[in-house]
Amino acid sequence: YAERREESALRRSGRTVPDATFEPFARIDLGPVDAILARHGHRPRAALRIMDDVQAEYGHLPVAALQHIAHQTGAWYSELYGMATSYPHLRFETPGSHVVAICRCAQCTVAGGGRVLAAFRQHLGTDIGGLSPDGAVRLESTDCRGESAGVPRVTVDGNVLPTVNATDAATIAAALRATVPQGQAA
């Protein structure tokens, strides 16, 4: 509800709203989707497994593929769309060039993870599960499973950072975004 307010304020501001979810309406090659559907017998009861496989194939869940799954299985598009949005690992946008992942467990929170996450939120201009507006960096969650000792678990493109604080987060965010030229992402 709070993010809705932010979003509508942004829309009212008259600026163009970067919305990566509109991109995937572009046509895609549906061959792999058909193969996956055939493997699952075109059953709507396998929808989650079908979407998992499609994401594994394309790196994301293109909306065109979702429409195709709806046509082929007979499941309502709205039902599939609602399902896909209720699973945080399914994403409609392309993965982005870099991935920053942060653990939000109690121990990482004790170790200062809250401020690091706030810094990433601010400097990447997105929240967990989202892509920075320039399409360069994706912010995701990871699980440390209690392994991180005194440092919140943050990974950049899969590599664990030995130490990180809010200032480092700002530097990392800026450095990652600088590696992708504006307008060329995704």
Binding site: A106, T109, G114
Partner: protein
């Protein structure tokens, strides 16, 4: 994470085979250390009803967090009229800071599988599903290997252990948010549907997977069942506390000397676990967060609380995921409880108003405390909003999401008052700048 050794007087049930070489991957080694004897015994000489009675009299209670008596759950499922029943083992381990279930599934997949098989036999289910977090690749691999090995020995399959009935076990990998660990959400995910909880009752034992009666148990609960069948229910009831017999896995982390996982008899006090096994805190102890992100903060005075379902909830915490995170004096509990509330709000599904708006308002109030944007009445507002959320909650996430803030305010009221009334943070973590009140 290290497996810690408790005092010699603590029995080893769940981690008994953790030290047996090869028991995790080789069925012969596991059998050499006692695996599958309970199922052989039960198939030969016990009726399903007798298995349920054994589990009921052992007093085993669910380790998934709720502490529901396992025997009663099985009885309810077996008694519901239906031709098809399911058993689902919950190995999702929703708490991102816990790895107890993973440790169990990786070190002793045969105990989990044998427990699943005994549960299926007891309620006459022919299909059982072990739902495992998709990030647990080793556990998934070992469980699948255990299933294949058990099938080739005839313990599972078309004529499982010569009982004349079929029994199939399957591993499903699932990914999702914190709420996916909740049993109705887990069932919806197994049905390939939207990850949102359903109202209970009807409980899954009546209306579960695909509308059929279903037993959902935590993998740790199930792993204790073979021991009970093999050693008798009175032997199990004699271990641990009277109200909650047996052992459970506890994970110690945070500001503690020996972090790790230990098998503890229920009824042991937190102090015994933290000081005796964990070696005490590294700094000056401030609070222990018991039960994962939706657990409660317990101060040093509450450390004599025994580990048990009733005792912990009376103190404001839960057994939950089984994790105990120690926070020292450098942490600010106002900040911590606000951040945990925000996390729980982010992970909530948004199906109901207390879920979508209640937890969000709670997180905003918590954040207000840290940034100096709160009113003197906000503490009372948190208390009344929490009570409303607990009353109106659809699922356990919301019901427990109020724990961090409520226990924080209950035990560390002075720290909250410092933030709200004086705009200062004693630990020096937050910058609650008191904005001069403009209008009254």
């Amino acid at each position: 994470m290290a497996i810690l050794q408790g005092p010699a007087s603590w029995p080893s049930i769940l981690l008994a085979r953790a030290s047996v070489a090869g028991a995790a991957t080789d069925i012969e080694a596991a059998e050499g250390a006692g695996a599958w004897t309970a199922w052989r015994q039960a198939a030969a000489s016990l009726t399903p009803e007798q298995v349920i009675r054994l589990v009921s009299t052992s007093g085993l209670r669910g380790r998934g967090g709720s502490g529901h008596p396992t025997g009663a759950k099985w009885q309810a499922c077996a008694a519901w009229p239906s031709a098809i029943r399911y058993v689902v083992a919950n190995g999702f381990e929703a708490d991102p800071g816990a790895q107890l279930d993973r440790t169990l599934m990786e070190t002793d997949p045969h105990a989990v599988l044998e427990g699943v098989v005994l549960a299926a036999y007891a309620v006459r289910a022919t299909t059982a599903i072990i739902a495992v977090n998709s990030r647990y690749t080793t556990a998934i691999e070992r469980l699948r290997a255990a299933i294949t090995a058990a099938e080739s020995k005839g313990y599972l399959g078309a004529n499982a252990m010569s009982t004349g009935s079929e029994l199939w076990v399957e591993v499903r990998e699932l990914a999702g948010s914190f709420v996916l660990g909740e049993e109705t959400v887990l069932l919806r995910a197994l049905e390939d549907r939207r990850a949102q909880p359903d109202q209970r009752p009807p409980y899954p034992t009546e209306l579960g997977l695909w509308g059929e009666p279903t037993v959902v148990n935590n993998v740790e609960t199930l792993a204790a069942v073979p021991w009970i069948v093999a050693n008798g229910s009175s032997a199990y009831a004699a271990i641990g506390a009277h109200a909650a017999p047996g052992t459970t896995l506890i994970q110690l982390s945070g500001a503690i000397r020996n972090p790790g996982i230990v098998e503890v008899p229920l009824g042991t006090t937190l102090r015994e676990v933290l000081d005796g096994v964990g070696g005490g805190p590294t700094g000056t102890f401030k609070a222990a967060l018991v039960g994962g992100p939706s657990g409660g903060f317990l101060p040093v005075e509450a450390l004599d609380t025994p580990l048990g379902f009733g005792e912990l909830s009376a103190a404001g915490a839960i057994l939950g995921s089984g994790t105990v995170v120690v926070a020292d004096q450098t942490t600010c509990l106002v900040d911590l409880s606000a951040l945990l509330t925000r996390y729980l709000n982010d992970e909530a599904c948004g199906k109901t108003i207390p879920c979508r708006i209640g937890t969000r308002r709670l997180a905003e109030l918590g954040q207000g405390f840290c940034t100096g944007r709160s009113r003197p009445s906000d503490a009372a507002l948190v208390a009344s909003l929490s009570a409303d959320i607990q009353d109106a909650a659809l699922c356990g996430l919301e019901r427990t999401a109020v724990n961090p803030l409520l226990t924080g305010m209950r035990y560390f009221g002075q720290e909250f008052a410092d933030h709200i009334d004086r705009g200062s943070c004693p630990a020096g973590v937050c910058q609650p700048i008191r904005v001069a009140s403009v209008a009254h």
